[in-house]
């Protein structure tokens, strides 16, 4: 992914700028994506968009700093997020079945939490969505990136 690094001066310059910018941007964007995820139930946003923003943040970071850096940042293969996310979403769907309710029935805590508001299975579900989106996007991009590198 960073094959063009040594091509010429200006290329290096852009990369440098991008690298610096992404180093600061990435955590911000990740935070923003989580914000988007949580507020999705009330304002435009949600798991999809949140997940996509997070992926873009990581992709841009990876593009600037190289695949290895991002791998060491993540500490695990993003593929692992996929089953985790699906499991989370599935469990929040199955949970009501144990109470004799139909699959995917929303269950809610009576009390509201600060910032997040109502807590219910929908939020867990949306978090699952978020994880799957991040996992899948990164798996795809990383697989391609690794192949191009090799």
């Amino acid at each position: 992914m960073h094959r063009n690094n040594d091509d010429n001066q200006s290329g290096q310059m852009t990369t440098l700028i991008l690298r610096t910018a992404s180093t600061y941007l990435m955590p911000l964007l990740l935070l923003f994506s989580i914000f988007i995820l949580i507020r999705g139930h009330y304002e435009p946003g949600g798991g999809f968009v949140g997940g996509l923003i997070a992926s873009i943040a990581l992709v841009v970071y990876g593009y600037a700093n190289g695949l290895k850096r991002i791998k060491s940042f993540l500490q695990f293969h993003p593929g692992g997020l996929i089953p985790t996310g699906v499991t989370l979403a599935m469990l929040s769907g199955i949970a009501p079945m144990f109470l004799g309710k139909p699959f995917m029935t929303g269950l809610w805590l009576d009390q509201q939490l600060p910032i997040i508001g109502h807590v219910g299975t929908a939020l867990f579900f949306d978090t699952g969505v978020y994880l799957v989106v991040v996992g899948t996007t990164l798996t795809i991009i990383f697989s391609i990136g690794e192949e191009i590198d090799s």
Partner: protein
Amino acid sequence: MVILLALMVGLMYAAGIYLVLRRSLVKLIIGLILLGNAANLLIFLIGGITRGEPPVIGEGEFTLGEVYADPLPQALILTAIVIGFGLQAFAMVLLEQEYREAGVTDLDSLKDEDTDDQ
């Protein structure tokens, strides 16, 4: 605006089909992506379009007002967009792998499997 959007949908379907009929692997993918977008736009258009009334319940209210955009097509499109992305990503990678294996991007040269009946 409906008529323009309808025209647009028609144009995108036409452009998509036209591209899918080309010999280039890359055009094939661009065509498929265009078709996917066209279908999403079609659902959006057919669901009915409304200006400036997003289906979000306002502060302190409990239901949507009198006028609001139909949220159902939006939800459908959202699902369709994401699914479409998954499929398109797969198709793109397949294209690239196909090129790596066969060494060409010309679809016309990929016909041995069908015609060889020995």
